[in-house]
């Protein structure tokens, strides 16, 4: 059975350019921090990757460090910056994030709150899933002095909805409050970060969402000092220790260049495929809705809520039919919780539990979409029957 892979937002296929860069490095011997010739050769690979990626993102090479991925970047930016900020002024207790952040941001902020050094402030979103800038402006006008930092994601991972990070950053900058963005889902699609980033800003990106292998990411720290979270050999000075992964760095740069190179063409193609997918869903699945379809989204992501079923049952049935997608965001122990993202948009908890995400990527084809649409109606019908047998008496 051919797999219809409709889960590129979870992870996408490694691009040939990234694979070539990775494989080439596997044959190289040398630690980039060693002083000898072998070390220098490896270091050169890292630094060329850093420069290439920095140019590709429109940022300064010296501001860019390599990480293990988006989660590490978000943790370092939030925990590292907050430590610096409260060391300067203990009154800066508020960490302001949106209600729809990924857990890498949400739980980093909550961990600081639990440790007693911070209070988490959640910026609400509109019914379309866009961060409420008016609310944010009002908050900053009243509380900037006591705000440690702001973190608002560039694109939501469940709905694909693009967030107004340039505007939000501007508002934060007017109050001299540092601004971080989780740029994981937007990395291949949005304007280069360099177009809006000014002093006091940071962005985290992840390799495997844009066609590099899992295990590499980058964090851009533009006049955004952080307290070191991973101590050791001092490889990325004052920011992050750990042996530099030359091949992974090179593959991340190669993937980013390739993804940005085909941004227009691929974006157009995926928008077309997604429109076909969403039209098909709305036509064949009664009581279904597309979340965030009225506002700007990245091209490949589609959040679908279907009444009267549980997403894990639907995923099981689609999986058996060879269709791969996910339930909102990847969930704890495979157990679906109603997505905090959809709840924040005001979607009813029962409907949120029946929500799945289809996401297209650079290898997606019309055939993938067709097979997804072919399998969906029967799977929905069966999942609804299962829901009725389990909850029939409770609703």
């Amino acid at each position: 059975m051919m797999l219809a892979y409709l889960d590129h937002a979870a992870t996408t296929a490694v691009r040939p350019e990234a694979q070539a860069a990775m494989v080439a490095d596997l044959e190289r011997l040398g630690n980039p921090s060693s002083l000898h010739a072998a070390g220098r050769d490896a270091r050169r690979v890292v630094e060329e990757a850093r420069e290439s990626l920095a140019v590709n993102l429109g940022v300064r090479a010296n501001d860019l460090i390599f990480t293990s991925g988006g989660t590490e970047g978000d943790n370092l930016a939030i925990k590292g910056m907050h430590a610096k900020r409260i060391a300067e002024n203990p009154d800066r207790k508020y960490i302001v994030i949106s209600e729809i952040e990924h857990h890498a941001v949400l739980d980093s902020a909550r961990a600081l709150a639990k440790a007693g050094t911070a209070e988490v402030v959640l910026v609400p979103v509109t019914a379309d899933g866009v961060v409420d800038l008016d609310w944010f402006v009002t908050w900053m006008a009243a509380n900037a002095e006591e705000t440690s930092l702001v973190s608002i994601m560039s694109v939501n991972n469940e709905t694909g909805v693009i967030q107004p990070v340039a505007e939000a950053h501007k508002i934060a900058a007017e109050h001299d409050v540092p601004f971080h963005t989780d740029g994981v889902q937007g990395a291949a699609w949005l304007e280069v970060p360099g177009s809006w980033m000014t002093d006091g800003s940071a962005i985290a990106i992840s390799g495997h969402k844009i066609g590099a292998p899992v295990g590499v990411g980058a964090l851009v720290l533009n006049q955004f000092p952080v307290a070191i979270q991973a101590h050791g050999g001092g490889q990325e000075p004052e920011r992050r220790s750990g042996t530099l992964a030359a091949g992974l760095a090179a593959s991340l740069a190669a993937a980013s260049v390739a993804a940005r190179g085909e941004r227009e063409e691929l974006g157009g193609r995926l928008r077309g495929l997604r429109a076909e997918l969403e039209r098909g869903i709305l036509d064949t699945v009664p009581d279904s809705q597309i979340n965030g379809s009225e506002v700007d989204r990245i091209p490949g992501t589609s959040s679908v809520s279907i009444a009267g079923l549980e997403s894990d049952a639907l995923l099981l049935l689609l999986d058996a039919a060879g269709v791969a997608c996910s339930a909102g965001s990847a969930c704890q122990s495979g157990i679906p919780q109603p997505s905090h993202v959809l709840l924040a948009q005001g979607i009813d908890p029962a409907l949120a539990r029946g929500s799945i995400r289809f996401s297209l990527g650079w290898t997606s084809t019309e055939d993938d979409v067709a097979r997804g649409l072919e399998a969906l109606p029967a799977a929905v019908e069966r999942a609804r029957a299962a829901y009725a047998s389990r909850h029939g008496s409770r609703v």
Binding site: D312, A313, L316, L317, D319, A320, Q332, S333, G334, I335, P336, R382, A383, A385, A386, A388, S389, R390
Partner: protein, 373 residues
């Protein structure tokens, strides 16, 4: 072409706890040619956040889930975790506490079989298009004379789990497969090792899964609070000590009574009765524990109901002895049984399972006991 002897290829859910038995049961279902999907049950809200380094051997912890997942990988079957925590809390946890609170001694594993594994899970599996559920319980399913399914004891008497399945109805048995019933446990472990299953040497779990430290009294105290009262001599009414909550005492219990007054001859005392309302625990000589008349409620039939006069074997606890007995009265919601000889320590709330030879006939919850002579 005559193909009626070829077993029908079924789609089944294999309930996988993360232990060796359910893994081998799933493997055998795969070998039998069935389309098997592994399902691990998340039964406790806090199991997901439990310390992964904990030494306890309850079930449905994160490490159990991982073990189950790895077995499914090796068998090459899909694997999912189903969240049944809400059902488990309603039907097993709450029931467990409520039963103790009313002075009865429940068996939560049987309640889980009755309400979760062979009800909520089986129902969901069927609704999703599966034919039934496979588990690693040691019991056999045989065909009766009319082709009906019968539940029988396993061949390994030390592992036989037909007792804890005694609460299943005919319909539930119809949707269940127990591939391990014909095999001794030692052989199951060997088979697991041969199959390359990583859980081959994983220790069995014995504790109640939601009380991994085994401290049932502590668990009950937390949920029910302290209800101090007197421990009384059942014959003289003399106060022999105090307790923190009568609910924590079970008929036949000897240890941990906290009695400060010894008997004249130094012979041990046992709990012979518990009165929750009066908050008293009655203790006395072991002779007071013997009964031969038992009344049951919550009757389940594994097949056709029986009539008064039916001679059967009865078992009243997991891995307990079987005693010959006769059914003396059958009502829609209750059943009376006379045991051939007096048996000791029969607590209200326990489940009594009736056998005809190795076949499970039915079961009920013990609601009253007495002595005929």
């Amino acid at each position: 072409m005559e193909s009626s002897k070829t077993p029908k290829r079924k789609r089944v859910v294999a309930a996988m706890s993360g232990g060796v038995d359910s893994a081998v049961a799933a493997a055998r279902a795969v070998d039998a040619g069935h389309e098997v999907v592994g399902v691990h049950l998340a039964l406790s809200e806090n199991s997901r956040h439990a310390d992964p380094n904990a030494k306890s051997r309850g079930c449905c912890t994160l490490s159990d889930e991982r073990d189950a997942r790895r077995s499914a990988d090796i068998l090459g079957i899909p694997f999912y975790t189903w969240d049944m925590a809400a059902e488990f809390a309603d039907d097993v946890l709450d029931d467990f506490v409520a039963e103790y609170a009313s002075g009865r001694t429940p068996n939560p594993c049987m309640r889980c079989n009755e309400k979760i594994k062979f009800a909520a899970v089986l129902d969901r599996a069927k609704a999703l298009g599966f034919d039934g559920v496979v588990t690693g319980h040691y019991a056999r399913i045989e065909r009766g004379t009319n082709g009906e399914r019968e539940l029988h004891r396993a061949v390994d008497p030390l592992k036989d789990q037909s007792y804890v399945l005694g609460v299943l109805t005919e319909d539930q048995i119809e949707g269940s497969e127990f591939p391990l019933g014909d095999t001794p446990k030692t052989q199951v472990r060997e088979e697991a090792a041969e199959r390359g299953l990583l859980v081959a040497r994983k220790p069995d779990s014995y504790d109640i899964c939601f009380i991994p430290d085994g401290d049932t009294a502590g668990f009950l105290r937390k949920h029910l609070g302290e209800e101090p009262g007197q421990i009384l001599d059942a014959e003289t009414g003399e106060s022999l000590g105090e307790h923190d909550g009568a609910y924590a005492y079970t008929i036949g219990q000897r240890k941990g009574l906290g009695i400060t007054v010894p008997t004249d001859d130094g012979s041990p005392r046992y709990v012979v009765d518990v009165d929750i309302e009066a908050r008293t625990v009655m203790v006395g000589a072991p002779s007071l524990l013997f009964v031969d008349e038992i009344t049951l409620e919550n009757i389940k039939w594994a097949g056709s109901p029986v009539r008064p006069g039916f001679i059967c074997g009865i078992q009243i606890r997991a891995h307990g002895d079987e005693y010959p007995a006769t059914v003396t009265a059958v009502e829609p919601d209750s059943l009376s049984i006379r045991v051939d000889e007096q048996i000791r320590a029969v607590a209200k709330g326990q489940t009594l399972v009736m056998y005809d030879g190795t076949r499970v006939v039915g079961s009920g919850t013990i609601s009253a006991t007495g002595r005929s002579a």
